[in-house]
């Protein structure tokens, strides 16, 4: 039960709410153990602040095991610290050195308005899902699960896409603030599976439109999203979305013309 012996200098973004100006505040945390997680180190700092009667630093976190997608910090200019396949809550202090200065900022994106300190509002992701990130299979409709055969490679690839935790690191790290990796992970998962094909065209058209309307930037294929994604989601899913999109646009164009369209 030993306390550690590292000292860290933190530069953390503090902002009371969206209406006020924010600024970086310097903090020093002593006795940091290398076994601590990054969030536990912030907990220790917060306990110090609260004992003094100061406002604790607000940050989103929940499961602390890398799956809920709640934690969301730019650590030293990189989303989740930029370690491969790692969320902020899985970053441990042994990755830092005694005396390091660490800059902690919130996700910055027009589509993710700031709430307080390091907390941002990511409900834009829910809005994208609502635009078509589902298969319309009401409870009770389903046939026997083994009636739909899905080759293992397809199931595996769908699972790769479905692993997305919706943390928003893709948006935070994208030089353009694009939400394309998040959106395409869902489009791609459902386009790969036979169950998802019935709605595939409508889905991609509406999800892309919603993504664009929410204030996300445009994808220009930097692949920085893929590099910081804690679940290693590939930009191949963006490519699949691009294919699905143009195919759907062409088909709908034909439908519009023959059906007299809107």
């Amino acid at each position: 039960m030993s306390n550690g012996n590292m000292t860290l200098n933190l530069k953390i973004w503090r902002q009371v709410n969206a209406k006020t100006e924010g600024k970086f505040v310097d903090y020093k945390v002593d006795h940091v153990s290398e076994d601590m997680s990054f969030l536990e180190m912030i907990d220790v700092l917060n306990e110090q602040l609260v004992r003094k009667g100061d406002d604790a630093i607000a940050f989103d976190h929940d499961c602390r095991e890398g799956i809920c997608g709640m934690c969301s910090m730019m650590i030293n200019g990189k989303a989740h610290g930029g370690f491969k396949g790692t969320t902020t809550c899985q970053v441990h202090m042994r990755l830092f050195k005694d005396g390091d200065t660490v800059v902690v900022e919130p996700w910055r994106s027009r589509a993710f308005p700031l709430i307080k300190d390091l907390t941002v509002d990511r409900s834009a992701f829910d809005t994208i899902q609502q635009a078509g990130g589902y298969i319309t299979a009401n409870t009770g409709n389903a046939q026997d699960a083994n009636a739909i055969l899905i080759p293992k490679p397809i199931a595996d690839e769908a699972m790769d896409a479905a692993a997305c935790i919706g943390c928003g690191a893709c948006v935070a790290s994208c030089p353009n603030g694009s939400g394309m990796l998040f959106m395409s992970a869902k489009v791609s998962q459902l386009a790969l599976l036979p169950q998802g094909k019935a709605e595939a065209e409508k889905r991609v058209l509406e999800m892309v439109q919603t993504h664009d309307e929410l204030g996300f930037g445009n994808c220009s294929n930097h692949a920085e999203c893929e590099a910081t994604c804690p679940k290693d989601i590939s930009i191949e899913h963006i490519a699949r979305t691009n294919r699905e999109y143009i195919a759907a646009a062409i088909k709908h164009h034909e439908k519009d013309r023959s059906g007299g369209g809107a």
């Binding site: 030993s2 609260v50 409870t139 083994n146």
Partner: protein, 639 residues
Amino acid sequence: MSFNLDSKIPAGPIEQKWDKHKFDSKLINPSNKRKFTVIVVGTGLAGGSAAATLAELGYNVLSFCIQDSPRRAHSIAAQGGINAAKNYPNDGDSIKRLFYDTVKGGDYRSREANVYRLAQVSNNIIDQSVAQGVPFAREYGGYLDNRSFGGAQVSRTFYARGQTGQQLLLGAYSGMMKMVAKGKIKMFNRREMMDLVVVNGKARGIVCRNLLTGELESYAADAVILATGGYGNVFFLSTNAMASNVTAAWRCHKKGAGFANPCFTQIHPTCIPVHGDYQSKLTLMSESLRNDGRVWVPKKKGDTRKPAEIPDEERDYYLERVYPSFGNLAPRDVSSRQAKFRCDEGLGVGSTGRAVYLDFRDAIKRDGQAKIADKYGNLFEMYQKIVGANPYEEPMMIYPAVHYTMGGLWVDYNLQSTVPGLHVLGEANFSDHGANRLGASALMQGLADGYFVIPYTLGHYLGSNTLEKVTTDMPEFKASLKMVEEQTTKLLSVKGKKTADDFHKQLGHIMWEYVGMSRNEAGLKKAIAEIRKVREEFWKDVQVPGDAGNFNTELHKAARVADFLELGELMALDALERNESCGGHFREEFQTPDNEAKRDDENYAHSAVWEYTGPNSSPVRHKEELTFENVKLATRSYK
């Protein structure tokens, strides 16, 4: 007041009860469904699936979630899998066998009829999830893959890599988002339920805190569904998420909902050990590791040699020694207790002495590193990330941790609590797992309740009751609002010297020490006395900075700790009153000569249901007798 603990189990043979019950239930015609509003609190597997399904049926659903999105509920963290009696592998599984295994696994403290229904609908869950696009693991032929889990003798577990909970939750979440888009679900994110509003004896609404603005909000409805998960965080350290808490359930308890078997907690044997007093949570390593890992401690006390330097004859592979037939695959409660016994004897390893080895040396020797990496690669990586040690080269260190709570609000066959109109789903209720839950059964229960049970039983409730119109202007709502406001003001005005977490940790230590893996009368009495002291100190010395008018995370924490401090006492009391050992509840006074749990079916084959009687009076213990007509009571043996 005496509780009505009528379980409303339908008559007839167990195989026909659910069908008969569905047929006997009242229906509501489609055009009338849209006149009803239902509140669903919680968006995990149970709450999410219920909200989506009820909205599909036409009800207006108000859905509340504590995180920033329903997709983040803690069901997402379940790794292993979900059971179903599909019998795809043709290895002898059936609804009856799944039913039997679950009742036995729960050490005969669950309700037969509920468990049988669970096993019946388990198959529909798999069908439904696949239809939604849940990418379960497949064989090369395209068929679903199954594995054996938690020592089960059949392969009935469906899985999606190590993220089954995530995929099932995202399935339910996608169903919800579909209904949000259709306007049938109204989402309220970052809301914490603070009170249940009861009007004319029926649950008719809730008061909740908008966590962002601090504002208290009231919502009225025709029925309330609670799906707010378990209360494992009463131990401070558990595998639960940080926001998992008992407040919603506890406030319902105070409004008249009976709390059943609160002492039934599951302590999972394979977690990463505690390493420091700053630690915020514990991480589970999937149970599947025990299929290939061997658990041991050194035979000599204080052996400081590196594990690799300790020869085989100086190692105690204690699970293999004590349980020759099940060995390392002994059930969760049994394995956990054995680890505790070894550490209590001073044989534990690691810097704290509260850990045992889980060694893959022999498996790697037998199968090669590649094969082991293929099976457990992601788990080994996760371990290395947290601990900084390589499990391919040195054994993992593991220790038991609080993982799941079988106890919860009492519900009848319709999932209705003792408060009419308040229905409780998933881990928040007590119904299906008895005194010990089997691996891969929690996901099954949550989704069974939400997709396939509540849509029928809620319709029956709404159809067979006259529900007068209520609005949030009514005095019952105002009174709830005032109660919560007063508590908030009180918390903010203490201005003490200790943080909410300080008290939570204190409580956690007491709970772990005396109400944890093994319990005894003296310890439980001590726990009750100490919890009372901590509670008293809490209200005198807690520091909650800031005010109630904004996003005040310390205030949120403090309100939750206040409820944990009350629940903790009830758990100790329940453990004290249950003079037997069963499943996760191990009383040292009641054990066989070789340290196994000794049940007392004569006197304790019942669920203990606690009634809240006010802040200054003792809770009252009621009983729901359990009858076993289809399963023969026997002693669990894993020797």
